[in-house]
């Protein structure tokens, strides 16, 4: 049995990574709230992860040649992607940072981070419990 490299651990580690990347992106957006022409960036991760987790049950194509259709990503391969929203403008100067939406995202992101860290902690706690033969 793989103790540390199982799916849950990997996904939790990815969730922590994503939350810290997202924190940087949000900080960048909020720092640039008064920069004329600035367009906000955002992190795409959860949707791709959901898709990857759902797809594991289907038939997986062998994509071993460059011309092949790529097989669906597995959860371990999913990476957070930073994208930029270039289509909207909130103000006359072309800036599209919505400070309210960004601050809500900051709050949600830090809760997400804490949740993932707690999950990881309790998983490690269970492992420790087993290693200590149930003696804590």
């Amino acid at each position: 049995m793989r103790v540390f490299s199982n799916n849950t651990m990997q996904i939790l580690a990815k969730a922590l990574d994503t939350a810290s990347l997202r924190q940087s992106v949000l900080a960048h957006n909020i720092a640039n709230v008064n920069t004329p022409g600035y367009k906000r960036s955002y992190v795409v991760f959860e949707e791709s992860l959901q898709k990857a987790l759902g797809k594991n049950k289907g038939i997986i194509l062998a994509g071993d040649k460059p011309g092949h259709i790529r097989p669906p990503q597995t959860a371990a391969e999913v990476r957070p992607v930073v994208e930029t929203d270039r289509n909207t403008s909130l103000r006359q100067d072309g800036n599209n940072v919505d400070i309210d939406a960004e601050m809500v995202q900051v709050a949600m992101n830090s809760i997400n981070y804490n949740a993932a860290a707690s999950q990881l902690n309790s998983r490690l706690g269970i492992l420790r419990y087993v290693i200590n033969d149930g003696r804590r």
Binding site: S24, A31, N34, S110, N121
Partner: protein, 141 residues
């Protein structure tokens, strides 16, 4: 490390907004200044903000955001305010005094914007700090 990166980004926001606030203070303090080193009345000064990006290519996960920077401090060249006061030592031959092109209402609105943006950056900084502290707890429980 990613988390310290986000703290550094918030710090650039704080620096930029504070500089803007300094300029606004300077503008308001000099609202009646008619003599400057360059000659003529004081002119309104504005900070120009620009997005700051990481120079190094191929940064991890392709994100290059590094916060905000003040690209330049420019003078507002809109016309001076003219006040008729022939007894003033700096009055021109027609008796008009050239006062700085500062509108106190604009400055106060800018001041509030700068303060609020500063506060927003502080909030983000605190959130990032809390996340960094939480990371230290991993594996302790």
């Amino acid at each position: 490390m990613r988390l310290f990166n986000s703290l550094a980004i918030s710090a650039t926001g704080l620096t930029a907004e504070r500089l803007r606030m300094d300029l606004i203070s300077s503008n308001i303090a000099n609202i009646n200044t008619t003599r400057t080193a360059e000659g003529g009345p004081y002119r309104r000064k504005v900070a120009v903000f620009a997005e700051q990006l990481e120079q190094a290519l191929g940064s991890r996960q392709g994100y290059r955001g590094k916060g905000v920077q003040v690209a330049a401090i420019v003078q507002d060249n809109s016309p001076d305010k003219l006040v008729y006061d022939p007894s003033h030592p700096d009055a021109d031959p027609q008796g008009y005094v050239h006062l700085p092109n500062i509108n106190i209402v604009t400055e106060m609105v800018d001041l509030i914007t700068a303060t609020r943006s500063y506060e927003a950056n502080v909030t983000v900084l605190n959130a990032g700090k809390a996340m960094a502290m939480k990371a230290l707890e991993i594996g302790r429980g």
